[in-house]
Amino acid sequence: MRLQQILEKLIEQGATYCDIRKEVWNRTSMTLKDGDLEAMVQGDERGAMVRVLYDRGWGCVGTGDLQKLEEASERALLMAKKGAKYKKEKTGLADVDTHTESVKIPMKKNFMDVHPEEKLDLLKELHSFFDEETANSTDLRYNDSLVKKEIITSDGSHVKMEIPRLLIYLIITGKSDTIQKASEGVGSTGGYELTERAFDKAEVVQERLKNLLKAKTPPSGKMSLIMDPHLAGVFAHEAFGHAAEGDLVSSGNSCLYGKLGEKVASEIVTIKDDPTIDSYGSFPFDDEGTKARKRVLVKKGILNDFILDRENAWKLDMQPNGGARAEDFRVKPLVRMSNTIIEPGEMDFDELVEQVDKGVYAKSSSGGQVSTVQGTFQFNAQEAYLIENGEIVTPLRDVSFNGFTLETLQNVIGITDEMQIGIGHCGKGQTAPVGDGGGHVLISEVTVGGRE
């Protein structure tokens, strides 16, 4: 049975809304550890998910067997009917423009045409770039994936897209009085041409490790903080972006609930989440078939928008903005970020540093955690330096920060006029490729916790 017919049948049986998302994946991944190929894997898979809304209940069924799609659709309807019985609160889907379109994110050099041996040679070349004195252990990873998606909805959208993504991840460790680790990823949507950027990153990551190996433990307490663009982006993503996810807002799981139009940050802060730029978290349509567009979450300090799929837009009486993303055909789309960016400001880096009497300059993230309900965050920098009297003095390691998100955003007093984006993987039960970036950001006061 064709996809369209399955949808028609579901509507005939009383479904309020339904859609099908069919995906074909092709992936290559390899790991080179200390110069030796640890593993190289290639494979493909295909599958689809049927989502059915019946009255107020949702049923979503994913299958790796496309022959069983009709069966899956019947099961989804059954689950939706059952769900409707348990639900008191009404639900709906905000209207969107329908599209019949086919989009390919271009690859200048198609990675599907590159022999695995060439990919392996690239990792080997990267390995030999690292100086053994500094990096006595290396863990280098290459991943590419091409997904062909087809999304068809009962209200008339039918989009097809091809999204190629490439990622190279460099992890190196070295030893002094302790063992230190530095890592950096390079990647985006696009083709094999992206690998050209890997050598610049290798240099960055090697410099970072050198500094970590001679670094000292940080001071703790309240002080100023300068975040580099990647860390600033991660902060915007972790501390703020998650709280701006429509499902968390509409269900009262966000400290931003009811604050639209209010001042939530210093007036120099503008935060965007933009799937349309050229970066790792980009996509042309979201996984409900809604055309992707830029969301300005904070405009000059004022809370301006949330990340919204169709259902949560309906609940909040707002416009959907392409916020639904699913990891693959096995799972339903959730409200997710894409590329989260702190808009560049007007200062230059030296001006930021000059303003700091005592503080920390922190670069790149090694992970963080947030509570969107309580509006708290905790995260760690990979690389850091002590700033004293307007000068960067000593390298630091194991630097972590925590605080209240909204309080911290009010304390932003300077942003540089530049734009760099790093890459990341966001976890929310499912993994999503994302970008995080912006300019350097100066925060007047944050709690720094060291391990003394």
């Binding site: 689950m79 947030v370 309900v373």
Partner: protein, 442 residues
Amino acid sequence: MSEKLLEGTKKILEYFKKRGLKGDVYGTHDRNISYSVMKGEISDSSEYEDIGFGVRVIKDGRIGFGYCVPGNEEEGVSRALELSKLSPRVDINLPTKRDLEAVKTYDESIKKASNEAAELTQQVIDGAGSVAEDITPSRGQLNIMFGTKVVGNTEGVFFSEDASMIEGYIAASLPLGDTSVIASEFAHSRKPDIDFYEVGVKGGSKVDSMRDKTSIPTDVPVVLNPSSLSMLLWFGLIRAFNGENVRKGKSFYRDRLGEKVAHDSFNLADDPTQDWGIGSSSFDDEGVVSFPLPFISDGVLKNFMYDLKEASKSETESTGNGVRSSFKTPPGISDRNVIVKGDEISDLCYDRVIKVDGVMGAHTANFASGDFSVVATPAWLVEDGEKRGRLDGCMISGNIPDLLESIEMGDDYKKLHLSLGSTSLNMELPSARIGKVTISGK
């Protein structure tokens, strides 16, 4: 038992034979049903069914991986064979045919439970909501999983096993002025024997006890609940038992086998043969028959863990710790069903302590030194067994190997299953009381 899975596995083994290859197949057929909770209600239900095969080819000592789905098994083998040409020589010895001792991992009544998943989810919601008017079960999830895994190789191994699991999670929130506090509770089991209403009540009661705030004492011991302890052990300790880290000098336990590394009563083992253990299984994902592997016994360091490949490099044998996170990923070294035991003190909050129910930032523990720094939330000051108020922004730092020397363990054992990126953590452990930590915060 899944016919398609068995057929596909046999087909791949035949292709191996036909082409004179050595190798193994790891096949899984899974069904997963989940119900989500948002704002006190079931928001949606979803499920998926999935079959796939991970193929490992060994030709002239070179290994290649591929994966495939039913119908393109031959392609999976060809792909793996093609990639094997790029691999360096590694001598791995595939396990030979042996008898399996069955481990209990599957309960047939899981199927009945899967048809009642909506009712069970509603029970969690009702439980959390029953605690107080102003408490909302704001987010939650109920998952039911069951399926079959098969490992077959060209040395005659052909093992298959069914497994089931049910888990429930609820986060309850409580508005306090212009902010909110939140606490969560969860339960995991191989069998549908969980009292979900009670899970909800526990989550609701936790947040109910967070109404009052108090200031953070800095000179008291800390009592970690099982899940907080599991996070610290996972990120700050268990990697030190990994044979590859040991060989490469990245483990703080290197060269310390047989030495005392923890409190006399402290025991930590990987035991995949425990009946109904969340990570239990009678064989590992490379077809090695399971056995219990103590890491620390009565405070003494006993063993490290190996998969087939690392065993070959370290010139030892696999300890049955070859684990694949899915058919799409090659095996790597991982713990499977960790059990932590101590002297089973029934009340660890016997004087003035900070009681911790969750930690943020455990993943940033320094893997080489075991240093950690986490924010404890939720956390309370407890005096004479009574919660005196919640602690906001309480930061705890220390060093895991150091604090094991004086760790005291409780008797409130809990089974945990956590998915962390592409790996998962399965543990059974009680609460622990630790000193030797630095506490900071307002």
